[in-house]
């Protein structure tokens, strides 16, 4: 099996490699922070929901 470093015979075009590293970095970061990002989203949504609910209750109260 080939366990040698990948050193191909073509010019890799450094710009394309760096771009892919950036994409990989963003994807990696997104995966790493996925839980915390979701937690933040849930927290925000949760807060927003409870705020909505509170506002709705308030409106009902006023209607009554």
């Amino acid at each position: 099996m080939n366990m040698l470093p990948t050193l191909a015979y073509i010019d890799p075009m450094s710009g394309a490699i760096v771009l892919q590293l950036i994409i990989a970095g963003i994807a990696g970061a997104a995966a790493y922070f996925r839980r915390s990002i979701w937690a933040c989203v849930r927290l925000l949504c949760g807060k927003a929901k409870s705020a909505d609910a509170a506002a709705g209750d308030g409106a009902q109260t006023r209607e009554n």
């Binding site: 191909a8 075009m13 450094s14 990989a24 963003i26």
Partner: protein, 468 residues
């Protein structure tokens, strides 16, 4: 046994391709053999062949043939045998959708290989060939097992070979033919960058794939920012690469589908001066001649959208369909997706056929060396060669003689014909004396005229000839 090494097979040091007694073999080194055997052991190699992602390939197992091949190629231990592709075509002979589909095929194969920890070490368009109108990867030795899986080493080459020619075609109306003939390895990023204005570079369609790589390329090339060690760092998460390639696949599909053919001859079928009866008579005569010729390979010159190529394919021939009009070939190729047939379409100007290019002018042979035909169809073509290309009648005869191995079906179009007159509109009439008898006399020098059929309801005549 003498072997003929394929001149274009020299870049990849892991092996080379050669012909031996009409069969095509690939010599591969230990590393390449190891990677391919790994895929074969898990059944994935046969799966890739069955799904026509790679060309039909067999490992040459222990036996007499292997011993003979080892004698023929000293120092090489492992060999593969490939299916022989009827006609090799090159990207400068493809239409927009053909190039896009070749790119999509490369991506599909790369995505499949990633599932097994493998990847393509290069992404040149020359690794793709069209068989029965469908792309296939022929360079099996391009499969490797890289250290990094989040980055595709050949991505830059992929952009140069597939995306940039399509973007230049889409936004700058550059033709693929000139682009590939001028730059055999694809256009470099700086040159692509120069083709677009600064405001075009900010377009969403160009920013991520032209502008960003261009900026990053300039940045990385300054000083010692581009380090090869980066590529040797193991990374096995393929997610980033998969996401990027899926995006690229969608982009190529969109570029191909949004292309609108508008060539001069694409609506020829609607404007030609044949009425229904003449059309039927012509088809009947061509069909009869094809049955008599019974060719294995047909070259349909001036094929337009491929009506007669289909007829030849229905007669059981492998058809190479050539036309100078890119958009006619584009429509023919699109038609093959809905109604598959054994037709390989190529964009080819007979007055200036694809030359031999590349290393020592041997790497990519000229069209005439690649086109093999037992029978050439030259229907509604003669007047274009005589008038538009200014070829003498004897020259047309020599050209058609050089392209057929055996038979020729020629449609004689007299100068009084409406389509002939259309081409002559602003030209000096040099063809007042051109008659069927004169045409037959010119061709009789190099062909035996076996049969002629006057097409009912038209002034045209079909001639069936055999080389002498």
């Amino acid at each position: 046994m003498p072997i003929q090494r394929v001149a274009g097979s020299f870049r990849d040091p892991s092996g080379f391709v050669f012909f031996r007694e009409g069969r095509v073999f690939r010599a591969v080194d230990e590393t390449c053999q190891g990677v391919l055997e790994g895929l074969a052991d898990s059944g994935r190699f046969d799966d890739l062949v069955a799904r026509r992602l790679i060309v039909d390939t067999q490992f040459v197992k222990l036996g007499e043939l292997l011993d003979e091949l080892r004698d023929d190629c000293p120092g090489v231990d492992h060999f593969l045998e490939h299916e022989v592709i009827p006609t090799i075509t090159y990207p400068y002979e493809w239409s927009v959708s053909m190039l896009a589909d070749a790119g999509i095929h490369t991506i599909d194969l790369q995505l499949e290989l990633l599932k097994d920890g493998c990847a393509l070490k290069d992404a040149t368009a020359y690794n793709i060939q069209f068989v029965e109108g469908r792309p296939q990867m022929i360079d099996v030795a391009s499969i490797e097992r890289p250290q990094r899986q989040d980055v595709w080493f050949a991505y830059g080459q992929f952009l140069q070979m597939f995306l940039y020619p399509l973007l230049l075609n889409r936004y700058q109306h550059w033709d693929l033919h000139s682009d590939f003939l001028g730059k055999i390895n694809g256009r470099d990023i700086e040159s692509v960058g120069r083709a677009f204005s600064w405001w075009q570079k900010l377009r969403p369609g160009l920013f991520l794939d032209v502008t960003m790589p261009l900026w990053l390329h300039r940045w990385a090339e300054k000083g010692r920012r581009a380090q090869r060690e980066t590529l040797e760092k193991p990374a096995d998460n393929t997610r980033a690469q998969v996401l990027n390639l899926q995006r690229m696949r969608r982009k190529l599909r969109k570029l191909a589908d949004s292309y609108r053919p508008s060539g001069v001859w694409t609506d020829y079928t609607n404007i030609c001066n044949y009425d229904g009866e003449a059309e039927l008579a012509k088809k009947g005569a061509v069909c009869k001649f094809l049955m008599q010729s019974n060719p294995r390979q047909v070259l349909d010159l001036g094929c337009n959208t491929g009506e007669y190529s289909r007829l030849a394919a229905e007669c059981g021939a492998e058809v190479l369909a050539a036309d100078a009009d890119h958009d006619a070939i584009e429509m023919l190729y699109r038609g093959l997706k809905d109604r598959p047939a054994n037709i390989t379409p190529v964009v080819l100007d007979l007055a200036n056929p694809s030359p031999a290019i590349g290393f020592m002018n041997l790497e990519r042979p000229a069209f005439a060396q690649r086109a093999k035909a037992d029978c050439v169809l030259a229907l509604a073509l003669m007047h274009h060669l005589l008038v538009s290309a200014n070829m003498p009648l004897a020259g047309v005869c020599d050209l058609l003689h050089s392209l057929t191995e055996r038979d020729l079906v020629l449609e004689f179009v007299p100068p009084e014909d409406e389509m002939f007159q259309r081409l002559m509109k602003f030209r000096v009439d040099l063809f007042q004396d051109l008659t069927l008898a004169q045409c037959k006399a010119a061709f009789a020098k190099r062909f035996e005229i076996r049969e002629e059929v006057a097409i009912a309801n038209s002034q045209r005549t079909l001639l069936f000839m055999r080389k002498v």
